[in-house]
Symmetry: C2
Amino acid sequence: ADTTTASDAIHRRFNPLTNSWVLCSPHRTKRPWLGQNEKSNDAPAVEYDPKCFLCPRNQRSGIPVANPDYTSTFTFTNDFPALTFDEPAKAAPSSIESSIESTLLQSHTAHGTCKVICYSPNHSLTLAEMDNAAIATVIEAWVNVEAKIATDHPEVKYVQVFENKGAVMGCSNPHGHNQVWATDYIPHEPKSELSSLVAFKKSHANKCLLCSYSTLESEKTSRLVYENASFLVLVPYWAVWPFETMILSKTHVSSLAALDSAEKLLLADAIRNITTRYDNLFETSFPYSMGIHGAPVNAAAEAGGEEEEYVAAAHLHMHFYPPLLRSATVKKFLVGYEMLGEAQRDLTAEMAAERLRAVDGNLHYKRK
Amino acid sequence: ADTTTASDAIHRRFNPLTNSWVLCSPHRTKRPWLGQNEKSNDAPAVEYDPKCFLCPRNQRSGIPVANPDYTSTFTFTNDFPALTFDEPAKAAPSSIESSIESTLLQSHTAHGTCKVICYSPNHSLTLAEMDNAAIATVIEAWVNVEAKIATDHPEVKYVQVFENKGAVMGCSNPHGHNQVWATDYIPHEPKSELSSLVAFKKSHANKCLLCSYSTLESEKTSRLVYENASFLVLVPYWAVWPFETMILSKTHVSSLAALDSAEKLLLADAIRNITTRYDNLFETSFPYSMGIHGAPVNAAAEAGGEEEEYVAAAHLHMHFYPPLLRSATVKKFLVGYEMLGEAQRDLTAEMAAERLRAVDGNLHYKRK
Ligand SMILES: O=P(O)(O)O[C@H]1O[C@H](CO)[C@@H](O)[C@H](O)[C@H]1O
Ligand SMILES: O=P(O)(O)O[C@H]1O[C@H](CO)[C@@H](O)[C@H](O)[C@H]1O
């Protein structure tokens, strides 16, 4: 199965978490690039920006409120949330004329909330430049916001923690922050992964797909980037983005909430290590979208159901999806063929892992 | 089922073609945009560019060949193809140590070819500014290239026609052109749609999902943008991109090859109409990725199998995925939540259809 990985051969790989495929054409990196160049994404140099909506004491956007004079992390509800709890429950569908219509025009009301978490009062700090203890404080904030939403809103089923970093990833404010969107349903991506984890358990004598995968990658080593006592950082065999990585818990932990303080520090260490490598790779503040996948919340209420199966099968991991391909300004476009056909990448997962291993994971290039 | 569509309510819609969901948060359009602005994508003003790799008589990129002095469309093999037929067949996997490894590290060699089709010798012509007859000539070229690949390479199973238009969609040359990638397997996206079409037939008394959908949308009208005797142009109920549209054959036609000359002209008319509306919407050369989905090729050889079912179920349609949201320079970013959670959009399909209906589909803004 693993025989094509070292070579230059054009091949296709399978993603067992989402049941999709990726076409891998390693020689395509030789092609000259005449397309769009991005602005490089250098983090702001100032520690305080009087115009920033996220800096302490400043006025927020759209609403007549000022931020507190916060000194650590700062969590608030997004001023333009994609989800709220105020939405009226939808009237029972009255116009379904046929089973065809109810199959082809399916919708339901969505309830939830959107939170923003500032990493620190310092406008210029990204995760890559924070120390393990400061990142552990951010992880603590994620755990707290997830717990509070789940307790206050028993209808919430899933809490998605994610960060868009860099203008090229749609981020509109360089002040280090991430988002948390909670919903009264499990969204498509985690649901598809959780279904795969449940199916694997059933067909593999109750084994966990990601525990098995973690063991396999520890043996193979070619896709490993970094590891500590609790976490692996690796380029998944089925990576789509050029320098896509995953942080994977070595043992079967279902969610952030299940980590003890020592493990939170180890997760912080893994996050610091990979984000530092990213910044060092092209000596730029490396853009990405990242997010955490773990167990659904509030599932206990429906004992014995699908959601309880999901909780038992969930295995904590983080995805990093960074767009850059060749330099600080040349990204990979996942466009025509990728949208209409299937994902396509220009270097193998093993080549990407090798390049990420070769850069420093401790000392950030700005400090050299 | 269709009761939320007119309102401002936050809701979720189901895509029966790909079995995925999209979160719809219409009020989000009110949020101020402080993020990245794109360069506007105006088409080149010159009819001939001596530096262009695609203009007639010019030198190509990377290889010592000059283009012919072509006068209509011009088809050639991509100089940096993601797929070739030269790839050696992979040695039988020898290192599979366990069923776990063969599940988690799956790959196979991929064979195929990548073609480029220039729309015309005129460097500045996009589909939006060509007339129906000229676009029908392009459709003819698509049919011919597909037929030739399928005949010359009986192992090819699918031929994907697509176009990346605009630098923001990863296109590196503004000379009007599209691509055709052929593979010895059916790629993920068409395969997932074909499976849905087959499943719908089985559960709905042999009816076609897209024939049924076409009838439903003709009745509802709120998502229609344009129609002629053979094709509907509509914003799908489950659209993800802000102004995503689909061109749908009204009758059950499986692929481009099955269209007669009159139907090809009608498809050309639908393409010209929607691309003209796109350009007129923000008075810019509207970027998009588009592609055609139809039946697999060379399926007859395996009579009675899955691929023959796909051929019978296939229903010709075109997807347009344009990134712009508010103006020529502000696009929608499908990033963090969309990658990690699920697709999210900021205006309803019906609002998008209304705006596209309101602009001219015949006279291009540059000619006004
Ligand atoms: O083949 P092109 O036009 O050079 O490249 C473009 O389209 C390809 C197919 O969608 C993508 O893989 C590339 O990322 C994109 O830049
Ligand atoms: O919420 P933000 O940061 O304003 O917006 C950003 O992230 C969202 C969630 O991934 C996306 O839907 C937006 O397109 C993007 O610009």
